[in-house]
Subunit: 101 residues, 7 copies
């Protein structure tokens, strides 16, 4: 899994392939649908941007890389499909953590 | 496709020619109309500004250039028409990623 | 067309004379009235301020000058009339781009 | 008209004496009461503050001085009366431009 | 009138004793109760804080001192009473100007 | 009264023990329940954080210390109880002033 | 209790295992359900991020570590479950204080 994904995200954006509900149950992580809380989702990072520019004009390196398994806030980002497969493009700050295998 | 487009965008703005729905289907990227998500759109960059000025008075270079095929958040930017062709002028931060051919 | 307009704008403000609807049609640029988008307007810059002061106390030079033909977001700025002619005073950041003749 | 007005404004504030409606008509500037736009007002600067302090602790000099004829956004500032005369105290950033005589 | 008031304000806060309506009339300043404007109030500064810390960790000196007669926006600050006398604690940025005697 | 309170606040937070209504009357400070104003409360500081980090990575020292008697905005902070005693944890910026004994 | 928790939080995020209501009563800390106040919760830190990057590109060290017992604002963060155990991932700035044993 490399950085040759068809969409190259800009700045601190990340393309993620969300995990199907079935896989999540197998992996042991369950994401409850609570009214008072934002429900996280699980996915795999396919491509990352070069990082955003800080107030001094320096690029901040990204903390995730292609191949990382991540959880992210459910309603963050923007969905799109290529050849009928769903993807999500979101900002790195919407990624909550990396799942360690 | 050069920078001689009739409108020269200011700061970090970008003029984009949105792709027709028919073209999108051929290209394999499909953008679902989901209630809970902002739907992205696809287009071609026609002209870019010189970049915005940061807090230290330095110009931040742009990450997209004329000719780039991009996806962007659907409701961002401002529409206009020249000779009956629709264009969009939007800020670079509303561009999610560059489509690699 | 010089900088001797009767009102001298402060900071990054710009005085613009909006273009009549008839002129716009002739120029080939048409600005649709779409519900989901902010409609831009076309006009001519009559006077510009000296630029706003950045966080380090330096003046940021303006990107437009008197005589420029510009497009700007429709509901930005403040209208006023001198001798029955309508003008608009708005911030440079509300100017989307310069029309190249 | 000097800086010996009874109220000395703080920071970037300015005391303005608004112009009566009759005077405005004579001066040729008419300020329409439009629903979609903020209506500006005309007035004379009576006293100015020393300027606000920027993020580096330096005072930013004021762009208007006592005696300037200015236009400003209608609903900005705070009204008060001395000896039955109405005045307005407002921030310099609410002043749109200086009227050149 | 010194800085030995019972409450020592923190940062850029100021303790003010509001002026009674009767005194105001005598002083010639009248503060109209207008719907479209925030009505200012008059008062005497009793104690001032040491000033707020700017983004570089430096303390910004205060522009008012104990004994100053000031006008301030009516609904700013927090009321309290000591021995049945009403006071107000407010931020210096809510003080519009100093009344020169 | 030391810093050995059971909860150690983070950053610029402060643990306060609110004063009972009876004590307040004795101390001569009365806090009216006015509709148009935020009502302050009185309390004793039990523990303070190390201070927040400013934009340059330096820690800003706290202005209050354990033992200080303070007034603070009524609806600020978060309540909790230990052994049936009520406490409040709030940010130092919600503390209006220190009561000098 | 180490940093080998299955989820590695990004930036200034922290994984917390909330304490059951029964445990809280035993510990002597009671968190009332007040309408006018945000109710805090108690929990144990399981994993912490590396800290967020400040405006100068420097990483700000975390103030909590794995094993710390903390209180935090009730509605902050995002819930998730692993093997039927509930966890919370939240930003360090939502942690109010550390409970000293």
């Amino acid at each position: 899994m490399g950085t040759d994904f068809r969409i190259r995200p800009l700045a601190d954006r990340v393309v993620v392939k969300p995990v199907e509900r079935e896989e999540k149950t197998k992996g042991g992580i369950y994401l409850p649908d609570t009214a008072s809380k934002e429900r996280p989702m699980e996915g795999t990072v396919l491509a990352v941007g070069e990082g955003r520019i800080d107030d001094n004009g320096k690029r901040i390196p990204m903390n995730v890389k292609a191949g990382d398994r991540v959880i992210f806030a459910k309603y963050s980002g923007t969905e799109f499909k290529i050849d009928d497969v769903e993807y999500l493009i979101l900002s790195e700050k919407d990624i909550l953590g990396i799942i360690q295998e």
